[in-house]
Amino acid sequence: MRDFRTSTALARGLGAAGNGTRDFWHQRVTSVLGVLLIAGVLIVISTSVGADYDEVTNLLSNPLAVIVLLLALLNFCIHMRIGMQVVIEDYVHGPVTKALLLIANTGFSAVIGVAGAAAVLKIAFAG
């Protein structure tokens, strides 16, 4: 089919969506916070090097460790979701495939986050 739309119509497209800034900003915020949180996670891991099972579960039930781990999970799941979304929008152009992948991306990030949080909480409260 020949396309008779004018170049002005093509350039205007569906207009400006009026968003994108929030994701852009959240990606920057989670990058900066991520650096701090990774430091916290590394401290938690390094303190448990060489420790036996009981010592590790003990350490992981320390409220401070739990908070650091849960925050890191939340932070990186948000960061991962936005990052993956950008990749999908960049390279996937079929509307249906794109929608399905965007849904899968959100689902995946949520599952990883919740599963991780459940694991941390289980160790913290049930050992």
């Binding site: 170049s7 400006a16 969506a17 009026g18 994108g20 929030r22 900003w25 929008e89 960049d90």
Partner: protein, 264 residues
């Protein structure tokens, strides 16, 4: 900056570049330079080809554009390309030279070692030989309304601007719309229908930062879009390939900063 990939890697069948004619005008002289030039004639019904020309550097001007003009005048009058000012101010002669988008009229022949490979500007659809179709990117430029917008009635004489505010336009007003940057941007390759690309965004910033303009909010509204603006992933090819030494990537980063600023 030659690509390590073979010439036709991943190219559509219709776009595959065949070996072309060798215009053997070589005199065996040491001053002979060899050019491989992309040729495509939509009316021929055939795909593109790479023609080889020999030119005598001694009787040719210093720039790649001089070599192309010499080829057109003396060897092959069918070679088609755009040029006007031949001194880097009109932006018509941008093309891919030795693997980089640049102006043929400001690219010295002697800075290129070996065979000089000349292709049309990356990414754009080819109309003929080195001439590409820029209608989409020109329409995108029109979209950002590249003119002063002011509701306050104009003064009798010029609209005043302090020297400091005028200085804010430096590095942005000099753009000659050659689209070397846009053609060199991978994000524009994947999403050029919607992404405005570095040249247009640099122009958008040029008006956003102009103290005399009254339409900043409106301008930002036009740009605030995941595709129009946020496809820029700071790849920086634009800055590398701008023959005027401008920094579209910096302009885009500043637009993003403005949008964040108005949120908080």
């Amino acid at each position: 900056m030659r690509s390590f990939l073979p010439l036709n890697f991943g190219a559509d069948t219709v776009s595959r570049i065949a070996k072309g004619k060798i215009w053997d005008t070589s005199t065996g002289d040491k001053a002979t330079r060899v050019l491989e030039v992309y040729r495509y004639d939509p009316e021929s019904g055939r795909g593109p080809r790479l023609d080889v020309y020999h030119i005598d550097r001694k009787s040719c001007g210093p720039m790649v554009l001089d070599a192309l003009v010499k080829i057109k005048n003396e060897i092959d009058p069918t070679l088609t390309f755009r040029r006007s000012c031949r001194e880097g101010v009109c932006g018509s002669c941008s093309m891919s030279i030795d693997g980089r988008n640049w102006l043929a009229c400001t690219q010295p022949i002697d800075d290129i070692r070996g065979t000089i490979r000349v292709f049309p500007l990356n990414h754009f659809l080819v109309m003929k030989d080195l001439v590409v179709d820029q209608s989409h990117v020109i329409a995108q430029h029109r979209l950002i309304q590249p003119w002063l917008k002011s509701e306050t009635p104009g003064p009798e004489r010029e609209r005043l601007q302090s020297p400091e505010d005028r200085a804010k336009l430096d590095g942005f007003y000099e753009c000659i719309l050659c689209f070397s940057c846009t053609g060199g941007c991978p994000s524009y390759w994947w999403n050029g229908e919607r992404y405005l690309g570095p040249a247009v965004l640099l122009q958008a910033y040029r008006w956003l930062v102009d103290s005399r303009d009254e339409a900043k909010g409106e301008r930002l509204d036009t740009l605030e879009d995941p595709f129009r603006l946020y496809r820029c992933h700071t790849i920086m090819n634009c800055t590398k390939t701008c023959p005027k030494g401008l920094e579209p990537a910096k302009a885009i980063a500043r637009i993003k900063a403005m949008l964040v600023e108005r949120q908080h």
